[in-house]
């Protein structure tokens, strides 16, 4: 009985999410895309997130380099630290860190804002004014996220690599050219493209999950809090799981 309750609740929530997404997809193709509001959202998401994201990405790069260097050095393989950064950082960490960052910063904001609109009957007001709330609230956010997240991911990869290069060359005394040669063995431009593609998927997941949590929030301040919490936790967990599936499909063969 104790197990059945959460399992049933999880299945019900999955079903509701499926209905929410299918309703949204149907609406998206029935209405003209809200380009103007999508661009406003994209600007807001991009400008707000970039400094924090670059800072985090840079420090992930520095730590990867340092850890790789100290792990490979006893085997005489410290030159290969560039390849390690390419494999771990470019292929895996940068896209998932960008996604986690967007889930924490943008997803929570989406969920709480929509949840507050739900409490204050603004979503009902949209419906009564013959404006489809799925189209009005979700479409521009989704367009903005899938527009911005790949760009943020690519920029964070560059931020991470620059920081990594700095630590490798100026702190650990490695040869710059060797670092870049090994880096290219670990990650190519194709990997960069895969990273951007992954972030497209992550952006869609974060936006839909966060908007869903906002739409179906429980009433009151507690409802807003739990919608926000669910948005970030669910987005992060689903993104990590999907990340594995994509990596398996792309690199697993």
């Amino acid at each position: 009985m104790r197990v059945a309750g959460p399992v049933v609740r999880a299945l019900a929530a999955t079903g509701r999410f499926g209905l929410f997404s299918s309703r949204f997809i149907r609406v998206m193709f029935q209405h003209r895309p809200p380009f103007r509001r999508a661009l406003d959202e994209a600007y807001r998401i991009g400008v707000q997130s970039l400094p924090v994201l670059l800072t985090i990405a840079a420090f992930v790069g520095t730590n990867l380099t340092m850890q790789g260097y100290h792990a490979f050095k006893p085997m005489g393989g410290e030159k290969m630290v560039g390849m390690f950064v390419g494999l771990a950082g470019v292929r895996e960490l940068a896209p998932i860190i960008a996604a986690a960052m967007i889930a924490a910063k943008v997803g929570t904001e989406m969920a709480s804002r929509i949840a507050v609109m739900r409490i204050r009957e603004e979503i009902d007001a949209l419906s009564v004014m013959a404006v489809n709330p799925h189209w009005y609230l979700v479409t521009p956010r989704l367009m903005a996220t899938i527009l911005v997240l790949p760009a943020l991911t690519v920029l964070s990869i560059y931020g991470m690599l620059v920081a990594s290069y700095g630590v490798a060359v100026y702190q650990l005394g490695l040869n710059g050219q060797e670092f870049l040669d090994f880096l290219q063995r670990g990650a190519t431009v194709t990997d960069l493209a895969y990273g951007a593609m992954k972030s497209l998927v992550f952006g869609t997941i974060i936006c839909l999950v966060s908007c869903y949590c906002g739409f179906y929030s429980k009433p009151g301040p507690r409802g807003v809090g739990s919608a926000t919490n669910s948005a970030v936790v669910t987005s992060a967990v689903v993104c990590v799981m999907v990340n594995y599936i994509i990596s398996e499909l792309v690199y697993g063969r």
């Binding site: 009902d124 419906s127 009564v128 013959a130 404006v131 009005y136």
Partner: protein
């Protein structure tokens, strides 16, 4: 015409409306009264299609909402206006943007000059001329209600619905909102449905009163008839203090009468 025929709706184990039937006459004002949790707001949500009845028929302007497609529902909603309990204004927008919103979201919005003219006209009719550029978050409760009302009438609706128009307002502001509803009733000549638990306000604005109790309509009659109802819930609401004077006016209790 708006009608409910044998309408029932439940939320989980709680049956909120039990086989409710009613007709709300065109061009007149009906106030639906009842205690908190009696199902008043549920009726309003059924009328605009935000909720679907478990059984029975809800007919608004010739559209049966239970069978209406999404497209029919949206085209019906374009003929309705609604003032929400807490106004439901968008705080990120200015007063002007809020009021213009329903027009701007139409498939073919009117030209900008026409929108501006209608916003000014709507604001004028709720007594807030010159408020266009004001930020909604800085408005008082009464002003928010007025802006909500201006937004509701800008599309020239055939039916105007009010969800607790006096809730959260001080007595003076509440009186001013009632006076505004009466004025609009005269100016627009359309069907008004007002959900309220404020009997004095309801008596001021309504032609018909409908009392809801525990999911059932216990009295639905023109004002004068309603006032002589012997139903205990109606009597409890009227509290034997509201009556009609010799000239047909509503007589509210005096301070001395209230204090005994």
């Amino acid at each position: 015409m708006i009608s409910l025929k044998n309408v029932s709706i439940s939320f989980g184990d709680l049956q909120v409306l039990k086989n409710v039937s009613a007709q709300f006459p065109t061009g007149e004002t009906t106030a639906i009264l009842g205690r908190s949790g009696a199902g008043k707001s549920v009726i309003l949500k059924l009328l605009v299609g935000l909720l679907k009845a478990d059984s029975g028929e809800v007919d608004v302007l010739g559209t049966e909402l239970g069978r209406a497609s999404q497209k029919e529902l949206y085209s019906l909603r374009r003929r309705l206006g609604m003032l929400f309990q807490h106004s439901a204004l968008f705080d990120s927008l200015t007063v002007e943007e809020n009021i213009a919103f329903p027009l701007e979201q139409q498939k073919t919005p009117p030209p900008r000059t026409e929108i501006d003219r209608r916003v000014a006209e709507s604001l004028n009719s709720v007594g807030l001329s010159g408020f266009q550029a004001r930020n909604v978050s800085g408005l008082s409760g009464g002003q928010r209600k007025r802006v909500g009302l201006a937004r509701a009438i800008i599309t020239k609706p055939e039916i105007l619905l009010f969800d607790e128009p006096n809730s959260g307002l001080d007595p003076l502001t509440s009186e001013a909102i009632d006076a505004l509803i009466c004025q609009m009733k005269q100016d627009l000549g359309i069907t008004f449905i007002v959900i309220t638990h404020d009997i004095v306000g309801a008596l001021k604005v309504a032609d018909h009163l409908c009392m809801l109790d525990e999911g059932k309509i216990v009295e639905h009659a023109p004002v004068k008839q309603f006032l002589i109802s012997e139903h205990p819930v109606v009597r409890g609401f009227l509290n034997r203090n509201v009556s009609i004077d010799d000239e047909g006016g509503i007589r509210a209790p005096t301070v001395d009468e209230i204090r005994g």
